[in-house]
């Protein structure tokens, strides 16, 4: 039987285009991890809030889609900073990682995820809301149809990655963020306002998650419970890419997306999520620092 290359291309394309969404959320998770040594388990819910913000701005208030995207990012960033200030600060002060406070942070993250879901439920209800965005006719690549929303997502992912990279590597504030991520006491001695930087890290990570939420809106409906599966996928992406590594997060997302789709296409179509977690376990066994985790060892 002839091997169908056009289908293979389609599966790869699908993998990449959904993978970048995992990657964007993973980017935020990695950013928080590299900054505070904690895994933020409420990040899926921030993503969900972002999607709802986007829906409110674009549908209820009638802003154009790109504007709604930016506004949703800003709102989610403010929400994230608020949560950090009010709830997480006590805990992050005591340190993250393997400390007792770090454990508290993880539990606090879980609790926050449930609280945020309930708040969203009270505001928007349990029903799924459609989020149609008219971006025009899909791209036709030979036999394959690629809705513009996926292409847009990929573009935004690359832009976010690049902007974050520029911010961290080329700006003074970015330098300070990296310093806080690597060593908080020394950062203090450089005259850096460390608590403010931690807020900023949270805000950035949450803004990025919101972008993913608004981008995926047109591809699925927006719903209170949408964060959970995304968190798992993004977590897998972050681990595969090397926890704490920013380029690794996007790359990890793409690898997870491709693995899922190729697995579903050529191994067994059932439960394609399994491939994401199989990959996660494999990476943890064989290369715990992640496929792209060279940078993750030395932080910042």
């Amino acid at each position: 039987m002839d091997f169908d290359f056009s289908s293979l291309f389609a599966f790869l394309l699908f993998g990449v285009t959904i993978g970048v969404v995992y990657g964007i959320v993973a980017l935020g998770i990695s950013l928080i991890y590299s900054g505070l040594d904690i895994v933020h388990f409420a990040h899926g819910e921030i993503y969900m809030f972002g999607a709802f913000f986007g829906l409110v701005f674009s549908h209820t208030m009638g802003f154009p889609y790109p504007v709604a995207l930016l506004l949703a990012m800003v709102c989610a960033a403010v929400l994230g900073m608020g949560i950090e200030r009010v709830f997480y600060r006590r805990l992050t002060k005591g340190g993250g990682g393997y400390t007792v406070a770090g454990m508290g942070m993880i539990i606090c993250g879980f609790g926050m995820s449930i609280v945020l879901m309930n708040i969203a439920f009270l505001i928007w209800g349990a029903a799924a809301e459609p989020f149609p965005v008219d971006l025009g006719m899909p791209f036709q690549l030979g036999d394959i149809t690629l809705p513009k929303s996926y292409a847009l997502t990929a573009v935004v992912a690359v832009l976010l990655m690049a902007a974050l990279h520029y911010f961290l590597k080329k700006t003074k504030l970015g330098l300070a963020v990296r310093a806080v991520a690597a060593n908080k006491d020394i950062a203090y001695l450089m005259g850096i306002n460390v608590p403010m930087m931690i807020s900023l890290i949270f805000g950035l990570a949450c803004g990025i998650a919101a972008a993913a939420g608004v981008l995926i809106g047109p591809m699925q409906s927006v719903q209170v419970e949408m964060g959970y599966l995304m968190l798992l996928k993004a977590f897998a992406a972050a681990v595969v890419g090397g926890f704490g590594s920013l380029p690794g997060a996007i790359a990890g997302g793409i690898v997870v997306g491709i693995a899922e789709n190729l697995g579903a296409a050529y191994i067994s179509p059932n439960h394609k999520d399994i491939y994401a977690f199989l990959l996660l376990i494999l990476v943890l066994m064989i290369k715990p620092s992640g496929l792209f985790g060279i940078v993750a060892r030395v932080k910042a």
């Binding site: 003074k172 450089m190 030395v298």
Partner: protein, 245 residues
């Protein structure tokens, strides 16, 4: 310029410092000496705001700074170079130095100071685009001192700048510290290398178990039999090298 009176602090409930009085006059070097675990680093941490002050006061440049947040103390002109040679390993040499100037906005002066640091430590200039992780121990010590200078401090606090370095490098470092002082920066230096520190400093304090045991002019202390008895020993302390200015 720095006036510490009755300073007590510790970690959690564990008290380490019990009423320390210490002064640093403008333009000189004051050294704080003591054995391992006597509370020297703890003292510097309290001055920098990394530890809460339990009792006593810290006056710097006419301003009470106890319990200000650490980043604001740096803005007052009090900078610390810690003992751990804590450069940022994943950043380049130049990024580390620029981070030192984080509190400053005067771009031109910062560029000048960068040149000045490179003139103090030419090795750093050669390695400016290298990651700090790839530097040797002596080079890291140069880097963190240089980074401290980049804040253009009024008072630079150095925590054991000679620790774990080869004698040749130690001489270089002390020589540079001398040059730094001459360029107008006051220095509070914590050391275990008693002889060298006292040769360099004008005034010395000796701490033990969280209290100041002996204090006095450096040239007196260096000949004080009590000081000799408790500290002066070991190869480096007996070294006959001269410090070149």
């Amino acid at each position: 310029m720095l006036k510490v009176s009755g300073l007590s602090t510790g970690y959690g409930k564990l008290q380490i410092l019990r009423g320390i009085d210490l002064n640093v006059a403008e333009g000189g070097i004051v050294t704080l000496l003591g054995g391992n675990g006597t509370g020297k680093s703890t003292f510097l941490k309290a001055l920098s705001g990394l530890l809460p002050v339990w009792e006593g006061s810290i006056e710097f440049d006419g301003q009470k700074i106890q319990n200000l947040p650490p980043h604001e103390i740096v803005r007052c002109g009090l900078t610390q170079v810690t003992q751990g040679k804590d450069a940022y390993p994943a950043m380049t040499v130049e990024e580390n130095l620029k981070l030192g100037a984080y509190v400053r906005k005067d771009k031109i002066a910062i560029a000048e100071d960068l040149e000045r640091v490179y003139s103090f430590f030419p090795r750093l200039l050669e390695r400016r685009t290298q990651l700090a992780a790839t530097l040797s121990g002596g080079e890291v010590q140069m880097l963190v001192i240089g980074r401290g200078l980049m804040a253009r401090p009024k008072l630079l606090m150095l925590d054991e700048p000679s620790a774990a370095l080869a004698p040749k490098i130690i001489m270089d470092i002390f020589a540079t510290i001398n040059r730094i002082r001459k360029s107008g920066v006051s220095i509070l230096m914590v050391e275990q290398n008693v002889r060298m520190a006292l040769l360099l400093a004008e005034y010395g304090y000796i701490i033990r178990d969280g209290v100041i045991l002996i204090k006095g002019d450096a040239k007196d202390l260096i000949n004080d039999p009590n000081v000799k008895k408790s500290f002066l020993g070991g190869t480096v302390a007996n070294s006959t090298h001269e410090i070149k200015a």
